[in-house]
């Protein structure tokens, strides 16, 4: 299980993404966190290359690439043309075309660019490869960095390297990389409270656990879980550290130890439902069933789309049963059943919306409405019934990158239409050339539509599978409630029969 963070001004979410790690989770970098800025090259000589770079830096990567490619095709780049190829590589990278960028960056080592710029190019490439799920390639790109980067970039490099190594189960190397992140010299540059350092420390704690260095890992997470936190992001991270330790000890059947971490977790925020669930389990494990009801009853009033709340809805009647308060147990089973039914209905509505193709359209609209610099980031859920069951999926890098491709392809369809009109209106084109261009537009439209359909199907299947998983879980819980209620009625009737 991997966690990622999604930032929005004034809002922080810690999200579960993918990849089980033996119960210990580490923090993954989301597309937003890693949105690599375009490579800023040093002393570009040719003015036309600089003009294209301006377009890129001003947020128009497609215009930048096409303009520079057009200038290159017309032989207008006369001053140090090798620089143009590198700049072009950076442009393709900014456009997400990392395969093309890789081939153009091959010349980096022999270029006139200073080492620090070359290093930044490799780091940017690694970040984009990571976002596209190419973890091995990302590690190779990181290995091409020579020497140290400056401040923030060095932190990004070490943290990304640590995460990639952890994903590859290379915990020893991951620990080494993450330890460097905590080096005093680096921390001093960016401040003790640097988010990178904080996230790095968290991941180091997890990597140490996985490496078998439990004591050091625990100390690190404890430090993180007890430290002052002045931002919502750091408070959430503090909660996460405490929850991590609490569940670790709870699963080792050490409720006393687990309790001390659960009670440090805030009862507000994204981690509160898991904290309440775990705290109830601690009391339950200690046979303090009345006390376990306090967090569980609070939990059962929260939004029932949260799996922890769903567990809480089952836990409350369980505790009443332990207390022999069977009437209340029955009432709470009834309540849980109603909530599960209602949630199943919500999930089915979402499934119907997904099946009707609404999801892809809504997501593309949501993406299209964002400012240029955040154009491809899904930060808010579409207004689809039951969409909250999909938010976790929406925030995975895979989903966001696929969506980004989808939105870019749709945008490209619009461009092709404009080009088609331009070809129609063009004066002085020879018939052969006109037919040639028309054919290129038509062929590309066909190819685009095929890929668009494949992506749409992929997104739909992903959403359907996610919703199906939620539906099955809810139905399983509902049938368990029914079974328990039936047993309870059976027991009551037999008891009533005995009394008669």
């Amino acid at each position: 299980m991997v966690l990622l963070r999604v930032n929005k001004p004034g809002r922080v979410r810690l999200l579960v993404s993918k990849g089980m790690l033996g119960g210990m989770v580490y923090l993954l970098l989301s597309a937003q966190t890693l949105a690599a800025p375009p490579v800023v090259w040093d002393h570009i000589e040719d003015p036309l290359v600089r003009a294209a770079q301006f377009d890129l830096l001003a947020g128009e990567p497609f215009e930048a690439i096409t303009r520079l490619e057009a200038d290159l095709a017309q032989g207008r780049i006369r001053h140090r043309p090798a620089q143009a190829q590198l700049v072009l590589g950076g442009m393709y990278l900014a456009n997400g075309a990392y395969h093309k960028a890789v081939s153009l960056f091959e010349a980096l080592g022999n270029s006139d660019q200073p080492q620090r710029i070359q290093n930044m190019a490799w780091l940017s490439l690694a970040q984009v490869q990571y976002q596209h799920g190419k973890t091995d390639e990302a590690l190779v790109s990181l290995q091409r960095i020579r020497g140290e980067l400056s401040g923030q970039a060095q932190q990004e490099r070490l943290l990304l390297s640590g995460i990639l190594l952890m994903q590859g189960q290379q915990f020893e190397q991951a620990v080494a990389s993450l330890r460097q992140l905590g080096q005093k010299s680096l921390v001093r540059q960016l401040g003790e409270k640097s988010v990178w350092t904080t996230y790095g420390r968290f991941n180091l704690g997890v990597a140490l656990f996985r490496q078998g260095e439990e004591d050091e890992g625990r100390m690190l997470l404890e430090e993180l879980g007890s430290g002052a936190a002045d931002t919502e992001e750091s408070r959430t991270l503090r909660d996460k550290a405490n929850l991590m330790l609490a569940y670790h000890y709870l699963n080792k059947n050490e409720p006393e130890k687990a309790q001390q971490y659960f009670i440090k977790t805030r009862l507000q925020g994204p981690m509160s439902s898991r904290a309440l669930l775990g705290l109830g389990r601690v009391y339950s494990a200690k046979e303090l069933h009345k006390k376990s009801l306090v967090p569980w009853l609070k939990l059962s009033t929260m939004g029932a789309s949260d799996p922890a709340v769903q567990d809480g809805l089952l836990a409350v009647p369980f505790a009443f049963g332990k207390l022999e308060a069977f009437r209340q147990a029955l009432e709470y089973y009834q309540l849980a059943l109603e909530k599960f039914k209602s949630e199943v209905e919500q999930v089915r509505q979402a499934e119907a919306a997904v099946n009707s193709g609404v999801l892809a359209d809504e997501l593309t609209r949501a993406v299209g409405n964002q400012p240029v610099d955040q154009r491809w980031l899904v930060q808010d859920l579409p207004n689809t019934p039951g969409a909250r069951y999909l938010w976790q999926l929406f925030t995975t890098n895979e989903f966001q990158e696929t969506l980004k491709n989808y939105a870019q392809l749709r945008l490209s369809l619009g461009r092709l239409e404009q080009w088609s009109i331009r070809i129609d209106d063009a004066k002085g084109l020879t018939p052969v050339r006109r037919r040639e261009l028309e054919k290129q537009v038509k062929d590309l439209q066909g190819e685009l539509l095929v890929v668009l359909e494949r992506i749409q199907t992929h997104l739909t299947v992903l959403a359907q599978e996610t919703l199906k998983g939620h539906e099955q879980r809810l139905l399983g819980y509902a049938s368990e409630v029914r079974f328990s209620m039936a047993q309870m009625y059976d027991y009551a009737s037999r008891r009533w029969g005995d009394e008669q």
Binding site: M20, P47, R50, A58, T66, F318
Partner: protein, 192 residues
């Protein structure tokens, strides 16, 4: 006696629910598996990603051809003038607007946005004007408004005498810090 029986049977009954409680731990795991990609899903994603990149790269190739077509439609190849504005990286002044006149006739005016100023500071060159001008000798007059490093507003004007031939002319206006005053100065370069 009966009560004991109730308790015993009650515990046994609620023992069924312990299975549910056992699921509590899996509740944490569930949230992961919901979004966890299978190998097939990851493969599908990587393949689709590569397919999208291939098509988008073809868009770039055709886009470059369309850029050339647009240029041939909108501009005559003779007497083309491209004027670029560049700012020395690390300069402390801040450009606000630039106006370009040719022989006292307005050719272009641009007000810079924050993003464009950053693009200039990072080494980009802004295309202030790209179009056809009559051949022969002309005067290009640049007027620049902005804020100097000492926080005072400034306004500068500079003129360049230039002869346009049949070839494409590229003129670069470099806004650079002045050596002995807080105001920037304008330098010109004609690119061959």
């Amino acid at each position: 006696m009966k009560k004991t029986s109730v308790v015993r049977r009650g515990v046994a009954f609620f023992g069924v629910s312990l299975v549910s409680l056992g699921l509590l731990a899996s509740g944490m795991a569930y949230t992961a598996s919901a979004a966890e990609g299978t190998v097939a899903e990851v493969t599908r994603f990587v393949q689709l990603d590569a397919a999208a990149e291939r098509v988008l790269n073809k868009m770039v190739v055709l886009g470059a051809e369309m850029a050339v077509l647009r240029e041939t439609q909108e501009l005559s190849p003779e007497n083309q003038l491209l004027v670029l504005v560049t700012v020395d990286p690390g300069s402390f002044f801040r450009l606000s607007t630039i106006q370009l006149q040719i022989d006292e006739r307005m050719l272009s005016f641009h007000q810079y946005t924050e993003t464009e100023l950053v693009a200039l500071q990072q080494g980009g060159s802004h295309r202030l004007f790209w179009g056809n001008v009559p051949g022969g000798q002309h005067q290009l007059t640049f007027s620049m408004v902005g804020r100097a490093s000492n926080d005072s507003d400034f306004q500068r004007k500079s003129t360049l005498a230039i002869i346009f031939g049949e070839n494409r002319s590229v003129v670069e206006l470099r806004v650079v810090p002045s050596k002995d005053q807080p105001l920037p100065e304008m330098l010109f370069k004609e690119w061959k």
